[in-house]
Point group: C2
């Protein structure tokens, strides 16, 4: 499984700090060259699946303009330049929910899209989360705090109340990798 | 949870058929207006989590240029214009693996990104998959067929062999919503 070689890269659109698009000229392992392979560069984010001390899960209900409708999501936000992913994820958790985790466990890091990349997401599991402040997010969206049992989160996923693949990926990782936390 | 209102939309970059970027002027529920909210429009895809008749799961090992490394993924590909998502997902499954499912069950539909949208992904669970043809994908990437037990897929996820949030979301949905298939 040899990697492709990037021979050249040109920025073809930019709207900083939101997004950039670059066009790459790439060489495949068989020697073939493609002169218009596009990569979309979005800011990295950190997400926390926050489990409270009582075992219930904190989520947010909010309208998001990407899907164009309201739904359930986990606390998440952009990582600041130079900020470590776990620090950024914990900061966003605090800003959006007022929760501080007793333990923050790294789940994984994934890009949005196999071809066009998009953003890089850093996923964490927050255990023993306690409310230490009032939420103060400064986000554009109004949001509502929601506290759900594990079975209720599963039911919400099944009922189509998730809208964004990040939230599905976050919950899926946590559920699959930590059966001792979420039950089997 | 009122939706935002899109007042105006202008295409600011296009590289058809791969991607388009539009700049929207939007009005928030509190009346505030934002004149530079960007949406990235990528082609919709269909993905199948294919479970063979023997209960094992088919995956693909391939290099993908988005993450820039090789890893494990599920069969997936772009849905053709006018094609139904389940038809496109089954077609891609056949092209990439030669598998035909006995039953194709809809899992969910999600956008990549809460803010910038990206592509829309249609996720399916394929049960009773049988090999009825040789793979004939025509994709740019060389790929290797991989057959794994459920525990081996979980272990691969834990070991960082997934690179793209779509694959994590696909596996997570299937595992959480169908414990009768995958075990608890």
């Amino acid at each position: 499984m040899q990697p492709w070689e990037t021979l050249d890269e040109e920025e073809v659109f930019a709207a900083r700090p939101f997004l950039r698009v670059v066009r790459q000229r790439v060489r495949l392992p068989d020697g073939a060259e493609i002169d218009d392979f596009y990569q979309v560069k979005l800011r990295s984010f950190g997400m926390v699946i926050p489990v409270q001390e009582d075992g219930r899960v904190r989520m947010l209900e909010q309208y998001k303009h990407g899907p164009g409708r309201a739904g359930l999501s986990f606390p998440a936000g952009f990582i600041d330049p130079g900020e470590a992913p776990d620090v950024g994820a914990a900061r966003e958790l605090m800003e959006e929910t007022g929760l501080a985790p007793d333990r923050l466990i790294k789940l994984g890091c994934y890009v949005d899209n196999g071809n066009q990349r998009g953003c890089e997401g850093h996923y964490f599991l927050g255990l023993g989360c306690r409310e230490v402040a009032a939420p103060d997010d400064g986000d554009l969206e109004e949001m509502r705090q929601v506290v759900l049992t594990v079975a209720e989160v599963d039911a919400a996923l099944k009922a189509g109340q998730f809208n964004v693949s990040h939230d599905v990926a976050g919950w899926g990782q946590a559920r699959v990798l930590y059966p001792e936390v979420f039950g089997a």
